[in-house]
Amino acid sequence: MSNELNFLTEQARRGRLSRRDFLGRAMALGMALPFASSVFAEAVSGTPIKGGLLKAGMQGGSSTDSLDPASWTSQVQFMFGKSWGECLTNVAPNGDLVPRLAEEVSSSADAKTWTFKLRQGVLFHNGQEMTAADVVATLERHSDEASESGALGIMRGLADIRTNGKYEVVVTTTEANADLPYLFSDYHLMIQPNGGKDAPDAGIGTGPYKVTEFEPGVRHSAERFEDYWNLDEWGHAAEIEITVINDPTARMAALQSGQVHMINRVEPRVVDMVKRLANIEVHNVSGPAHYCFPMHCDTAPFSNNDLRMALKLAMNREDMVERILRGYGSVGNDFPINGAYPLAPTDIPQREFDPDQARFLYERSGHSGPVVLRTSDVAFPGAVDAAQLYQQTCAQAGINLEIVRSPGDGYWSDVWNKEPFCASYWSGRPTQDQMYSTGYVSGADWNDTRFFNEQFDQLAVQARGELDQGKRALMYHDMAMILRDEGGLLLPMFNDYIEAHNNQVQGWVDHPQFEMMSGFALSRCWLSA
């Protein structure tokens, strides 16, 4: 590159040149437009700019929220948490495991003993050094039988957790588990001083930001932790702030009027209109999250597989994706796995809308009278609408679907996992094993389809301990087929995460695992000057 171009690039990096000025002058120097454009993008987003107040407006906060990671259930808590706390491991956007507080992870040949070598010299916000004792205490707190942690489910099966010197932790499991390091990227498992046993909601961690303000359901703010171990890549903005804006229209208005820099959960219906706005960039990221209608396989009339199959065939999936997601998603195939997972089966035929076959199976099932589907606006965005569309296609197959709209209040405790047929969603899990063992094996904590299949359970255990990826993939293929053809899951669509930010925000990288760059948006992005 010529000196002049270097100078221009440097100017752009410092934010002294607008994109248009840069392109104009670069092309005057004889550079082609696409190339100039990418040089500019790299110059601007390549070097993070330190400083400023980065603000997010987010859905999913409540005045009952707490800073105790064990109690987190919603995206505001976990996004703020990922700014002030850290886990042992992270999952990268491409699905790879990357070290965070653990520098190195290794396992014994039988995948039952795992050694985590910790990063040295990492400080908590209170000035203490993070050591193996803190990690062990954290893991203990979440796996303790008396624990109230949301991570209790995934911590089962740990036989022993112990320190090995100041910077090493050894974990043994009762059964082989090839996915264990993935589990430790769970956001509940933020490492806290003494595991948070003394003050679980103190909000003290090792993350790039330290908590300055915590008003549950209203506003959370934090300032950069100057002793953070990796300020080159994290913690660019001097301060960050999350404002809880649960109303989608208000959220969009706040972004448009510049009161926040980024928002989550843009409604699919308005995306096309938002894309026309200047200064706003919309990201839709396809991930493992899906909208579904679980049926209880052990409750009449859903105990009849003909009826279940009829209901699956009476679903017009393409139309759902088109009308409910406005195309920002993909059709489901009645098993909860898609391309976002490692080793996902690829050759399973797509189930299509087939009212005639549905009618045939429905009549063969011998059921008569209405089939009741419960839905609510909180089940997933557009759940009430989706139920109405489904009611239409069911009618084409001669199935009388009755919709009951339940109050959002108490939906997750009284309707979901209690009523035999309702609307629901899953945000997905990092691995297939975790998804199946959380929701579909016989002993799963949230077996919301009441699916009890011995062959399926055996395959799950085998696959978990299998280190040969080829064999493992075959087992997952078989599991998907069983669930698809015999299970109680009606899964019409995988929904994209749709989020937006204004053009001041730089460094955004889509992350398929979860929304807002898997919760890292505030600690990884920066503001252009």
């Binding site: 229209t249 009308r323 109405q388 239409q392 919709i403 709209r405 109050p407 209040d409």
Partner: protein, 279 residues
């Protein structure tokens, strides 16, 4: 007291407009299945199409014909709102006036019970009702009617207490008229104008209240929808200039204005009824 020979003879133009519009709304509601070009639930186009020869008012958030939904919505909306308002009114005004006439501990008991009813947050009230009773239209009307009657009661009692101490009521008492006679012949006619004004507004509040209760799952179940819920369904389009929410909202406003034009007219006629000068 005398009535003019033909009450519709010199009806003012505003009231006439109100009457015509209200009648139109009622006709639309009654004959919805025959007038509506499409069904209430079928998706017949793309989302939020603008108005065209095929879809006069465009389509809604699921691509359903807005005009047809508006017609069907008129049924639910007006029936439930009218029933609830009627209940709220008869209950509220009769109890309110009774409390004023009886006075003493009866008044105290009724008034404090009303205080108690008003004090319970609506959300909790509605959720409790939902959890113990079936979610039907009748329950919905009862809940709306009873909650609204507390407000009517407060106003009716306040007005009636004032009238109860007027000379002509005293005179009637001295003449030995019974309580029922006093309530219906003396107090009610004189309390009517504030009550009628309240009636016109209560009806509108009922239309709006209905949508929030439907949203909670009490009463109207999808795909049926009342007008307030139709505004809610299409609200995401408001800030992008999509008229789908504006149309049901406009319908509510138009209904509000026409009902209140009629109420105003009745108001003038009730003030005439009391005698004195002719208006």
């Amino acid at each position: 007291m005398k009535l003019p020979n033909n009450p519709l003879a010199n009806i003012p133009i505003a009231a006439l407009i109100g009457l015509i519009l209200t009648t139109l709304f009622v006709v639309a509601a009654v004959f919805a299945p025959w007038i509506a070009p499409y069904s209430l639930s079928e998706s017949v186009g793309d989302m939020w199409e603008s108005s065209s020869a095929v879809h006069w008012l465009g389509t809604d958030n699921l691509g359903r014909d807005l005009f047809s939904r508006l017609l069907y919505g008129a049924r639910t909306t007006m029936t439930i709102a009218a029933l609830a308002t009627a209940l709220a009114f008869s209950l509220g005004s009769i109890l309110g006036i009774l409390a004023a006439v009886l006075g003493g501990w009866a008044d105290q008991l009724m008034s404090r019970t009303i205080d108690l009813l008003m004090s319970i947050p609506t959300l909790i009230f509605a959720l409790v009702v939902l959890s113990v009773m079936p979610s039907t239209t009748i329950i919905l009307v009862l809940v709306m009617g009873i909650l609204d009657s507390t407000r009517v009661y407060r106003i009716a009692r306040a007005v009636a207490v004032d009238i109860n101490v007027q000379d002509f009521v005293e005179a009637a008492r001295l003449r030995g008229e019974g309580r029922v006679w006093i309530i219906f012949r003396e107090i009610l006619p004189n309390a009517l104008s504030p009550l009628v004004a309240e009636l016109g507004l209560r009806f509108i509040f009922a239309v709006l209240f209905l949508s929030s209760l439907s949203f909670l799952g009490l009463g109207v179940q999808p795909p049926e929808a009342d007008w307030g819920s139709m505004v809610r369904e299409n609200r995401q389009g408001i800030v992008f200039g999509v008229p789908a929410a504006l149309i049901p909202a406009g319908a509510i406003a138009l209904l509000a204005i026409s009902v209140n034009l009629v109420a105003d007219w009745v108001l003038r006629r009730t003030t005439d009824l009391k005698g004195g000068r002719s208006g």
